[in-house]
Symmetry: C2
Subunit: 213 residues, 2 copies
């Protein structure tokens, strides 16, 4: 608040002369930051585009120019914060699986409280095919593909049965973390990741035999 930036009053611009042609990028940064900030303060339901615009010292039209609605805006803001580091093949299957699961947990429970935002987005997406498609192809699927590669490596090594249902393994892990995060408000108990991975290693869900789908 109090961000009384009269017009473009270039008061704090030590870099005004250096970074040229950037106007829109600066605005984008401020919008993303305000979105994440208000998302944390008020949650998805109470987040308002008008509020974001005001907080970012930006006209509403500037927000609507880049994102058609709240869901798209939040999607973009969240995506910026979801690091995804590929897991290198070290030869140690359990360590690799732990790294994958650990990273997923960090995404859900790390800064930004993604665990609270993602369900809201997914729920809304159920009635908005375009949003669902973007969520899948831009956010979930790339990360899922990298995780899948790790599990498939474990299968290839023989550390998991050949008929392991790889997508189901990941959906079980993610589903547990996400649901647990909604159901209880405390963080996951220590050792959770290990127990998920070890249970999978001991007996992963198998593909149904009579149906490849």
């Amino acid at each position: 608040m109090g961000r009384t930036r009269t017009l473009h009053a270039v008061d704090d611009d030590a870099d005004a002369g250096s970074t040229r042609g950037r106007r829109d990028l600066e605005a984008r940064e401020r919008i993303m930051a305000s979105t994440l900030k208000l998302l944390q303060e008020r949650g998805y339901a109470r987040l308002t585009i008008e509020g974001v615009a005001t907080d970012a010292a930006v006209g509403k039209a500037t927000v609507y120019r880049s994102w058609p609605n709240k869901a798209a805006l939040v999607l973009a803001a969240v995506q910026d914060r979801l690091a995804d580091v590929p897991t290198a093949p070290t030869g140690d299957t359990r360590a690799e699986l732990l790294a994958v699961a650990e990273q997923a947990m960090a995404r859900f429970y790390g800064s930004g409280e993604v665990r609270l935002v993602l369900p809201a987005l997914l729920g809304e997406a159920a009635r908005e095919p375009a949003l669902l498609e973007r969520l899948r192809t831009e956010v979930l699927e790339p990360r899922n593909a990298r995780a899948r590669a790790v599990v498939e490596r474990a299968v290839a090594r023989g550390d998991l049965p050949a008929d392991t249902d790889v997508p189901m393994v990941l959906e079980q892990w993610a589903g547990y973390m996400l649901f647990r995060g909604l159901w209880h408000d405390d963080p996951l108990p220590e050792g959770t990741v290990e127990r998920l991975v070890d249970a999978t290693l001991a007996s992963p869900p198998r593909r149904a035999v009579w149906q490849g789908k």
Copy 2:
């Protein structure tokens, strides 16, 4: 639409004389029905109390008299539809576990599309302690307790290890079903319940040894 019920215009009331003094009960029924109907048509985000009142041919004040906000209204409506049949002890552990998981799946994927509403409610509840409390104590916990009893029976019989983490088993099942239902829009593949149960029977998650919490 077209529900032009002018005032109390008791036009189609063959039973007008019989059901007297039951005005409020009738209204409650109509409100619940309209809520579920509009929930299915428009989804949680686009559901409107004003819309429910109109559809139920009821004044807005009548809705607000019983439920303080949209979340509470939807909670009540959904709760009405979540049957919960206790699973009788038959001695056949696998059959009992299948029954529990099957019932959970029916709740999420059966009529009413609870799988799309529940995440929205849980997400909203994260910022509204009172709602979260009601959700837990009135909706989730009773059903969870009955399911827990079945799994604990299996442990007592020795069909599952003594250090089985019973709550985690159920959260894994529920988490998978719920998350899977958001992520994909097709129904769960056939045999899913069997695979979940069998994976658990083969190697359930164990309690952490160094921490009872």
